[in-house]
């Protein structure tokens, strides 16, 4: 199955040090929160950016969704802090 593209924004992007990456598609039934917990174990920047999921919001294929949403067949996951508008 195709890889999953993850986009990072704002301080999440700064801490991780990249704006996007492709990862192997997680197992069927994996939620965004579960993937975030897994990514957070990758090391410094990831732990700093993703260690506190309370501060994070997400979008799947450009739609805001709660973190307990199952990733399923989505192509693009975005992880970011709460938006601060215009």
């Amino acid at each position: 199955m195709a890889a999953l593209t993850i986009l990072y924004f704002a301080w999440v992007r700064e801490a991780i040090g990249r704006d996007e990456e492709k990862v192997e598609r997680p197992e069927t039934g994996t939620s965004i929160a579960e993937l975030i917990a897994k990514l957070a174990t990758r090391g410094d920047g990831y732990a700093q950016a993703l260690g506190d999921p309370e501060k994070l919001r997400a979008a799947l294929d450009q739609k805001f969704v709660p973190l307990d949403t199952i990733i399923g067949e989505a192509k693009e996951l975005a992880i970011f802090p709460p938006v601060t508008g215009g």
């Binding site: 704002a10 301080w11 979008a59 970011f80 802090p81 938006v83 601060t84 215009g86």
Partner: protein, 147 residues
């Protein structure tokens, strides 16, 4: 007429208002957001999620047009690095009567302020910088419109 632009460049308010006035209504309402200075702020850096911004703003403009009898809607939002005093966002609405124009304009800017996928970083004269945190009251205001 409805148009949305997400752009780095500044915009010409007089031209935007003239286009809304030409929609044939009896009133035009608008809101212009300006980068607020003070506390040593030297620049505001705006990031956004391009694929999502256009889709989301387009949807909320459709909502506004379904809710109020509007003849024209114009939304412009800038991104990039902006100095205090620079224009950052514009919302303009045209309708036959003032109530629809004023209410829909307030609805759109409240939504943009709280739900549009933008993030702001403040830069200060001492060289420090910080990401702006989401405001709880903005979130509550936008929810109020949707209830």
């Amino acid at each position: 007429m409805s148009r949305v632009s997400i752009q780095a460049e500044d915009f010409d308010i007089a031209a935007e208002l003239a286009a809304l006035e030409a929609c044939g209504g009896g009133g035009v309402a608008s809101f212009t957001g300006i980068v607020r200075g003070g506390e040593g702020l030297t620049a505001l850096e705006l990031h956004h999620y391009p694929a999502m911004t256009m889709a989301q703003v387009g949807r909320i403009v459709e909502d506004a047009m379904a809710r109020w009898p509007l003849l024209g809607v114009r939304v412009i939002h800038r991104y990039g690095r902006l100095a205090p005093g620079e224009r950052i966002v514009f919302v303009g609405t045209a309708s036959r009567h003032r109530t629809a124009a004023l209410e829909s304009c307030a609805f759109l800017i409240d939504w943009l302020k709280s739900h549009a996928p933008f993030w702001k970083k403040e830069h200060f004269s001492d060289g420090s910088a910080r990401w702006v945190e989401a405001r709880v009251e903005d979130d509550a205001k936008a929810r109020g419109w949707l209830e």
